[in-house]
Symmetry: C2
């Protein structure tokens, strides 16, 4: 520490006056100018970082990085002024963050967001409303109910009368905002569980008495949820949390296109219903599988559920926003037959981290998870916290509402359509390159492929399982390494995952995965990314191909 | 719509170029100036609102308000430009929000936050990291581990070696950030449940197989959680979600000071342990009860739990931050004996909505809720999403870390101490006013009182239960109305709740409740609030006193 720094630090004392200044709204122009200066520093100081490379660092430098974050003592006196904290973040922290806004970052569902989202988030923070109850949010509770109705209408397309009746109805609820998709799926299954084991003669309901008593009252000893093998891991987690056991989130095989195999689904339903003593809590259709972007045949699943009288949940955390596109919303055909639907705001509605939502066809469904307290959330009040997994919660709905006004559904549609169109262009490009094999076609804006030179594909096709396994094993090694080297080079980022086509173990393959959400990502950039992968492969791994 | 407005709207088209502009970082000074102008509009446009009254509106105007938010159609084309959206929020929405930052708003745990918190939240939004995995957060995962260690150290005060070993250890976890206190309590009980029903010979564990199988494997038919009658409603909710049934969150009576009655606690534990076939998952101590601010005798509960080998959870969502105050941290004596602790960042760490945290004494406790997926959260990685209720999650830890640097623990201590000291001054003031009766002394910065004129207190003390009930019933009506009229007048806000001293039904009373968190709230303001209540009472309800 230099003398000057030391002198500066000594001036940083936690006194009452300094403290009060941080709470008082600026009264004069000088104070205002200071606050604006900080905002400039944030908006443009970070810009330098945002223009740089993608910046996912290699393992070794992560270890080095962590070594700078080991002090675990909280300083008694202030360490830094706000301006220094901000410049510290801009100079010392941001450069080691991941530039998810780069058009070369095509590995995950976290991507660039429109700049105005930052402004909207700032408004939410400045007002600091808590929508758990009307007394700390007032108009924001009303806004939330309106936004819920807007998205509900996008999904369920009910008539004017329905929405007029429910939009501001304090006794019914069209859905609720959650922390994210995990909490949304959990809420949907929570409702499904409680509805399946509702109160009846002498039994006060599963929420009240628990699973043990519920199984006795309903004469079962198992609950299951059916979803394809492409189901998100939050569903297993929900099964664990809800006490039914995550092994009872039963995976149903998929067809060649990674969609749920309807024949297998029907067989599974019949198996459980015939054997008895097992309650099927829900059947889940996926609208935008995390790994492949696949959409299950929603209308057909809906028909099966209607016939078998089962709760139909659609996990559209990723794909839900496609409903705004007239060009592609047919892909979600049948979603309106779902009893519940998960949609994430921070995915294809391009909101900042994090915002999940869950919608219900029946405006009374959420009654199954109603809680009250003496000091808030009194019966019959508008308090949104009455039927919600969350307690205190920020007013995210205003961000979505404002974004819908700024973009219009057509603006969102342009983003969605760009992603899907570009993914299809990339798929076409991959097919022309002998080094790569397209593994899953992009139904939405997600595709998977791998390095698998043309000349060995015949071997793979004709080989016996043992030979296949051997070849795939080597290819997996190659793909893991190419992905890692590209990531560590820091120019671009493609993720990887594991798939098992036709559910056969010998087909277990590591694939490279692209999610194309950033409107700045175009085929030119994607070609650069493919070129880099091809170069890495050719210069380092060509000799390893079996 | 005027001609000019119509012309303006026609210009708002969702075209590709307009869209791209919202994603591109500003390259020239004009573009930069525009973005800063918007931020100014947010920071100072909202100021007018923030200086105004508290603004919790009466029921009738809420209905009128909702009637303006009934349009449920999403516009195809953009409705407004960002600037208009912001001015719309400033002019048409913010005035109907609740001014939780007013020093006259002393009704809830949602209060003013330091101005820099807004800047910090803006940084988080601008970088839009997702801490579910290293690949979308890098340095922020490292920062989060460091902050977790800092707060863990504040609670558990372990030695340097311990923190050196765990601060950046990718195999252990000192705690995790959650959406809020509800999710933190849920996480703690989830861990307690899974630890109580861990895998054993042939049984794969409750998370995997579910409650029914767990009860069979452990030869029980009930699980309970013990907490005083002052427990937060999120605990019942957690019991419902986790499948043990919310009626099995067993309320233990409190003593005269609203602390858990230790004798009753011991009796309850012995009852369940003796009868057998019931598993006690956890005993909960409250550090800052929501309604009264009371702190349970944590050290003694800890001793009981150690002796009886029970998981000890402390719900310090509200009171946890008091640990930074050397003057008052003795109130939390014994918290370090807890197996798990909930603390909210958006309460007495003055963070924006919302930030919860849960800490564990044992860095391997969270292993009980571990989940992996192929494309993220692979075994042994730094990915924070592996042991967490949440999936995608914003990087809130940087806000807390920065705030600790700007304020120092002493700065936070000043805030905490001001709240407690001021609450005690208010209690003294209430005692001097014959119209009011202090119901609960402020152990922390929360107190409850009611309108109960001195001259009828003797009647209440000497009356039989029937008479007491009659008198209290009338007083309750009066207090409900005085609180409502004050709230609707919009100058200040005190909340109300229901207490039942000595657990006797005839003692069920409506009380007024103050939470003093805003450093600008002083005894002068509190006197004004009491004066207003007294005036309302005297002018409208004095004749109704029995």
């Amino acid at each position: 520490m230099t003398k000057e720094e030391k002198r500066q630090q000594e001036k940083l004392v936690a006194d009452w006056q300094a403290l009060m200044r941080t709470f008082i709204r600026p009264e004069n122009d000088a104070a205002k100018a200071t606050l604006v200066k900080y905002m400039e520093q944030i908006l443009f100081g970070l810009q330098g970082f945002l223009k740089k490379h993608v910046g996912i660092t290699e393992e070794i430098s992560l270890m080095k990085l962590s070594s700078g974050f080991t002090n675990t003592l909280i300083s008694e006196t202030p360490e830094k002024k706000l301006a220094d904290v901000i410049s510290g973040i801009v100079e010392d922290v941001a450069p080691y963050a991941v530039n998810v806004a780069s058009p070369y970052f095509v590995g995950h569902m976290t991507s660039a967001i429109p700049f105005f989202m930052v402004h909207l988030k700032t408004i939410i923070a400045a007002l600091n409303q808590n929508v758990v109850k009307l007394e700390t949010s007032k108009v924001f509770s009303v806004v939330e109910k309106q936004v819920l109705a807007k998205i509900h209408r996008l999904i369920y397309k009910k008539d004017d009368d329905f929405y007029y009746k429910h939009v501001q109805n304090t006794y019914t609820t069209l859905g609720c905002f959650t922390e994210g998709g995990t909490a949304a799926n959990l809420t949907a299954l929570w409702v499904a569980r409680n509805t399946a084991f509702a109160p009846k003669n002498g039994f006060a309901g599963i929420e009240n008495e628990g699973i043990q008593a519920a199984y006795q009252a309903y004469n079962v000893d198992r609950s299951v949820v059916l979803v394809s093998r492409r189901g998100h891991y939050s569903l297993r987690k929900a099964g664990g949390i809800l006490g039914i056991g995550n092994q009872n989130i039963v995976p149903v095989d998929v067809d060649r296109d990674n969609r749920i195999n309807l024949k297998k689904l029907l067989e599974t339903i019949n198996y459980f219903q015939k054997a008895g003593r097992t309650k099927i809590l829900a059947v889940i259709g996926i609208a935008g599988a995390t790994e492949t972007g696949t959409i299950d045949p929603l209308r057909k699943i809906g028909e099966i559920c209607a016939e078998k009288k089962l709760h139909f949940h659609v996990d559209a955390a990723f794909g839900g926003a496609v409903l705004v596109s007239e060009k592609f919303n047919h892909l979600l055909d049948g979603i309106e037959t779902a009893d519940s639907v998960t949609i994430d705001g921070h995915k294809q509605f391009y909101m900042p981290m994090t915002c999940g939502m869950v919608y219900f066809n029946d405006p009374t469904s959420l009654d199954a998870v109603e809680y009250h307290a003496n000091y808030v959330n009194r019966l019959g009040s508008v308090d949104l916290g009455i039927k919600s997994l969350s307690g205190s919660r920020e007013a995210n709905s205003l961000i979505l509402d404002s974004a819908l006004k700024i973009m219009g559904s057509k603006g969102y549609a342009l983003l969605i359509e760009h992603g899907i169109d570009t993914a299809r262009q990339m798929a076409d490009e991959i097919k022309t390159r002998p080094v790569f094999q397209l593994v899953t076609e992009p139904e939405l804006n997600i595709l998977t492929y791998r390095i698998c030179p043309e000349n060995i594909r015949l071997d793979l096709d004709r080989g016996n399982p043992d030979k296949k396994r051997r070849i795939n094993h080597k290819l997996n090694d190659i793909n893991i390494n190419v992905q890692r080297i590209q990531r560590e080079a820091g120019n671009s980022f493609v993720s990887r995952t594991v798939l098992m086509p036709r559910n056969r173990p010998e087909n277990e393959i590591v694939v490279l995965r692209c999610v194309i959400m950033n409107p700045m990502t175009d085929i030119k950039i994607l070609n650069e990314i493919l070129n880099e992968q091809e170069e890495i492969f050719k210069s380092k791994f060509q000799g390893y191909v079996p």
